[in-house]
Amino acid sequence: MKHTLVLYLSISVFLFFGSIEAQNKNKTSKQVTAIPYSVINLNDLSAFQKTGKNWGNASNVSINRSKEKTIFSEIGTGILVNKNNQRKNKHLVTKFEHGDIELELDVMMPLASNSGIYFQGRYEIQLYDSWGVKTPTYKDIGSIYQRWDEKRGKGKQGYEGTPTKINAAKAPGLWQHLKIIFHAPKFDALGNKTKNAWFEKVWLNGTLIIENAEVTGPTRGASFQKDEKPMGPIVFQGNHGPVAFKNIKYKLYNNNNKVIINNLKATVYESPKKIKKLQDINELKKVKDKNVKTISPLSDIKKNAKELIVYSGTLTIPETSNYLFEMKALGGGLLALNNKTAINMNKNNLKYSNYSFQKLEKGEIPFTVVFNQTAKRGERGFELFIEGNGTQRQSLQVKRISKREQSLIDMRFLLINHSDSKTISQRSFLMHNDVKKTHCISVGFPEKISYSYDLETGSLLQIWDNAFLNATHMWHSRGKEQLGYPEGQVIAFHGDSDFVYLKNDNSPWPKENYNTKHLLEKGFELKTPLIQKGYKLDNNKNPLFLSEIKGAKISNKFTPSSTDRKLKRDITVDSKKDIWLKISEASTIEIASDGTYIIGDKNYYIDFSGNESLTPIIRDNKQSKELLVKIPAGKQTINYSIIW
């Protein structure tokens, strides 16, 4: 009996975090958790000023991967396309004007095409087919384009411009995601410029590529070259080549809108386990009043003191509008506005946010912020943000913790870097689609392309470029997670066994059960019939993976392209029966005009053209589409490339 109880307890400890996750998901689904974006209607061109015939709407667009500057569009709505097919191709100018703005969109670049987004019609974020560029310049996608001045003399006309830190460009014809936070120049009452325009942050395909880059004036080719203004429209460049956009959305920030904290006071109390309501604070045993200038609970309470700190004061709300507060606390936390509890949480952890969304009047409102430090082992954390319609998200906290504490929170100080000459590999546990996989190897090429392979199932898990692997979670202290984290944005594959014997063409693809509860109660043993045989390294240390499934010998090797973001997979199979390969599984799989498979929402390509006698099939399993190859019995070689 005692034993059962112990087992039960240990299971509950193990499942504790799982259940928090579930609870939080339920809770947040009903809440407002974001200030909504304004979305540009792309069913027609009504959001834009009158323009040329080169611009239109489409339901789908595609390109020719071997012909420069081509775009094909299907009649319909939802996508904005510049066909660039007129004698004179015009720009596209929004009807709305903006100052400070956050803009997000998806963009598709045809082969060798060129376009741009001019903020306020003046400051250009360049759009270009920069696929495979090793050292980005101001001419590459995501960069801030150069300024131009004829008076500077021949060869010196171009100046300034900010290239991206790394090239995060995807291949032509794929959707790429851009997110930009732009701040307009500021002027005094007399109209004199007091501050230059600046790009706070630019992300391309999830990678931060520009940070805090100032522009001293309009960049080359701007619609308004001569002056700078507090407001202006967005201009999409239309005369340099075809381009398509979708999901264009933005948040306008009223210039200089900021929530300010006034009359701040703080009191420290002994920590109770929980605070049920705001009034509970009155009953706590006071430790001391604290003289503070900012909300900084992580430095106002010592690291392991079981204390609770209460901040109170007023917030200056810049305009009457809806505001969203987001709070996270490892320990407990409470936020009250106008003496009413807005957020109250006990036992939160830093992964999950709590929100309060409400309308606030312009002017001073009283607030109370509570942080209850109850967490064990010095694990603690606190975050508090506010964002409004028209007010950029800002932290209400000034975080003052030691570099060491911060680096232990970030857990990113033991990094494995690519070698310039050899392929490197590292085994680790890996998270893949929320599943912890235990027999994985990550391989990084000198070309800065990397992939992870699951040795236990013989499957390609993910690919990425940029840097290689963060090993901090393996190599710091005991390495409690033993996880390697890719240092780049990954394209993830299905994670099931790649090679399987199917009874017939319609048999469902087998799924492994990694369910945690199942592991604990029954013990864990993967039921895949694959036998790992290890890997052989060539002269460049590139591994050839060997395995056997029911007597069939299978080998896998991956080779990066030296010029493009492209990874080739070479497979050999020697099987007595037909065996199936699942290359990809995604919501949509399309076939391009050149026979290339386009996976997901134009997320990546599979080029299967190197196989004379084999053709993949696209199978609909009701949840999603599968790209499968039936490999006939006998000795076979197959190859395909992943392009992204």
Binding site: N304, S425, F429, L455, Q482, P543
Partner: protein, 664 residues
């Protein structure tokens, strides 16, 4: 190539000078003893180039006497000329997952990664592995505690691999064959061999093929120990029994068959046939805190006088213990003695060099050790001088026979007052660790010295089967006037010749009455106040404080500030998976080390005294607090302002586990 060698030479020079300095700073359990030990066995650094994180997980010697070193970061380095001052390092393999064991067989290395046994083959003979052949892969649940050790290779080419338990609120076996010893025959077939393992960091093979392993203290394991393993054995930790219904399991015992709370594993093994009692107990904190490697002395005397004996490493204490084993009535047992301490980091692996010195490979990441370096590689070299030691200790039906390395002073040796004996045991229960149980003193009645002065036969009253017998010989001298280098030994008595203890007929009861006493009574420690003093009245404490623990032998706070004369309530919350206490000490830079060393000298009395020595330097303290437990103490802050200390005096912890207590 030549330039590379030159670079190495420069690196090596730099290292030698650096490590020389570091050596001086290195902490040692007992400085005086370590200095004496080094007269006979010297610790010599194997220089490590600055850019190599040689967190040693495994050691193996190649056929041409190069030293293979596997690391926790997944590399295998091959070191040429490892016993010179200018070793040459070459990276043989990399990218593996925490390789905690290495062997050399069939012209290739075999490495235990977390998830598989890998054969590393250098097909083109360029000194770098080009085939990482999966010899056998086992499943994992993804828990960090799922370490895999080995392989050890027997003379028939069979390989043995040990799988550590998962740690999730106690030792578990979440994936198949966790907590098992696996045997791989040369044709690659895997046989589950035995289970009951918790943290089996060391595996040893004797020349006759017998297999031994070392165990780490924890749940179900009262103290470090050495157990002889035969096929089908269950050696104590129940987690692995989860897999006993598998068709190839040699064991039928079920986890629910195991009951907790027995006086000792030896006692329970009498009831439960399948349970195997250890051959040797290594008393926790006295001979270490985390038992590691096991090597048999096959040097035939070239490593000193202990040929045929066994050396056991300890990670937490950065030391090596010597073990003498004998087989009585078919059962292994024997004695453990101190041997060598003061290694640079946590001793995990030991292997013989071809010059009969011992390579010692070390790591302390996440499991802090007394040797403060994060990792290290050293050699233990016999200076040629023979220390005065108890060489062997053999069980007799009515006592022990001690053999010394040098003739004893016969007169002293005949004096029974020169030998103190007591016996005790450890509990067999689910709880982490064990107190010292049922300690009793025993009495030497007669001491007979051999003609050559090398052997002493002790006739003893009070021997107990299944108990660990401590012998202390602090004053005995050799015929040349030397004291014993290590004067304590611990003999685990499972059997006696003839099968039955010959109880010595007591001649005079009254004379020994006071000698035999049960020390189980609780010692009152006045500086440990765990209830709020009534004199504090209604208002209670002025300040309530809390201190926690973090992995790697540390408190979670660097500093606590209180006001003088304040009434303090202080709680130690232990969320680590080891035992800790907190001792508030007087100011002084050396105070924690001084008191820490005093705690180390408490010996068997340590657990009963919560490892808190009786000294004025100690002001207040807690008891020993187990994993996931807490204790609150109450005290009035000193009236003198200053920088006081809060230190964990659990043996070996005082070097790192300290917090400044500022009294204002």
């Amino acid at each position: 190539m030549k330039t590379i060698k030159n670079i190495f030479a420069i690196l090596v020079l730099l290292l030698v000078s650096q490590s020389g300095i570091a050596q001086k700073k290195n902490k040692v359990l007992n400085k005086v003893l370590a200095a004496k030990e080094s007269e006979y066995y010297k610790i010599v650094n194997v220089p490590i180039p600055k850019d190599i994180e040689l967190e040693v997980g495994g050691l193996a010697l190649t056929n041409d006497n190069k030293l293979g070193v596997s690391t926790r970061r997944g590399e295998v380095w091959v070191i040429d000329k490892p016993n010179t001052k200018t070793p040459e390092y070459k990276l043989f393999a990399s990218g593996m997952h925490e390789v905690l064991g290495l062997a050399y067989k069939d012209n290739s290395f075999f490495a235990s990664q977390r998830g598989e046994l890998t054969q590393l083959i250098d097909e083109d003979n360029d000194g770098e592995a080009d085939f990482y052949k999966t010899y056998f892969s086992w499943p994992l649940s993804g828990n960090y505690h799922e370490y895999s050790y080995g392989p050890r290779v027997d003379k028939d080419g069979n390989m043995f691999v040990h799988l550590n338990v998962t740690w999730a609120a106690g030792g578990q076996s979440f994936s198949k064959w966790r907590a098992w010893l696996l045997k791989f025959s040369p044709d690659g077939k895997m046989t589950p061999f035995a289970t009951g393992f918790r943290s089996p960091a060391g595996l040893g093979l004797m020349p006759n093929g017998d297999i031994f392993y070392t165990e780490n203290q924890g749940d179900w394991v009262g103290s470090g120990r050495v157990t002889h393993i035969e096929k089908g054995d269950f050696v104590g930790h129940p987690a692995g029994l989860k897999w006993s219904s598998e068709p190839n399991s040699p064991i039928t015992l079920k986890p629910e068959d195991i009951k907790s709370d027995h006086l000792s594993l030896y006692e329970y093994a009498k009831e439960l046939d399948a349970l195997k009692a250890p051959a040797i107990w290594l008393p926790h904190t006295i001979f270490g805190t985390s038992t590691s490697d096991f090597i048999y002395d096959n040097t035939e005397g070239k490593f000193g006088p202990f040929a045929g004996q066994v050396f056991i490493g300890d990670q937490g204490n950065s030391r090596i213990v010597r073990v003498f084993l004998e087989k009585i009535n078919g059962v292994y047992q024997g004695a453990a003695f101190g041997f060598s301490e003061g290694f640079a980091s946590g001793v995990l692996r030991m292997i013989w060099s071809n010059d009969n010195s011992m390579f010692v490979g070390m790591t302390s990441r996440g499991w802090s050790s007394i040797g403060r370096k994060p990792f290290g590689l050293q050699r233990l070299v016999w200076t040629g001088k023979t220390p005065f030691e108890v060489k062997t200790m053999k069980a007799l039906a009515d006592g022990f026979e001690l053999e010394f390395t040098k003739p004893v002073d016969k007169k002293m040796a005949q004096d029974i007052a020169n030998y103190q004996l007591s016996s005790f045991t450890y509990k067999y229960h689910k709880t982490y660790g064990s107190p010292i149980e049922d300690i009793k003193e025993a009495m030497v009645h007669k001491s007979t010295v051999s003609k050559d002065g090398l052997t002493v036969k002790l006739t003893i009253e009070g021997l107990r089967l299944g108990y660990i017998h401590q012998i202390e010989i602090p004053k005995l001298k050799s015929s040349t006037g030397e004291l014993l280098l290590h004067n304590k030994g611990y003999y685990t008595l499972n059997e006696v010749p003839g099968g039955k203890l010959k109880t010595f007929k007591k001649m005079d009861h009254s004379a020994h009455k006071n000698m035999v006493h049960n020390t189980k009574k609780v010692t009152k420690q006045v500086k440990r106040v765990t209830k709020i003093p009534t004199s504090w009245g209604k208002n209670g404490a002025d300040k309530k404080l809390q201190i926690g623990t973090i992995p790697g032998l540390q408190y979670n706070l660097k500093k606590i500030t209180i006001n003088r004369n304040e009434k303090i309530q202080l709680t130690l919350e232990n969320s680590d998976d080891m035992l800790h206490n907190m001792v508030i000490m007087k100011p002084g830079a050396d105070t924690p080390t001084t008191v820490g060393n005093m705690a180390l000298q408490l010996g068997l009395k340590g657990p009963e005294l919560n490892y808190v020595p009786d000294t004025d330097l100690v002001l207040f303290h807690s008891g020993v607090v187990g994993p996931e437990s807490s204790e609150t103490i109450y005290f009035t802050a000193p009236s003198e302002p200053g920088q006081y200390w809060i230190v964990c005096t659990f043996p070996g912890h005082a070097f790192t586990m300290r917090t400044k207590l500022i009294v204002k």
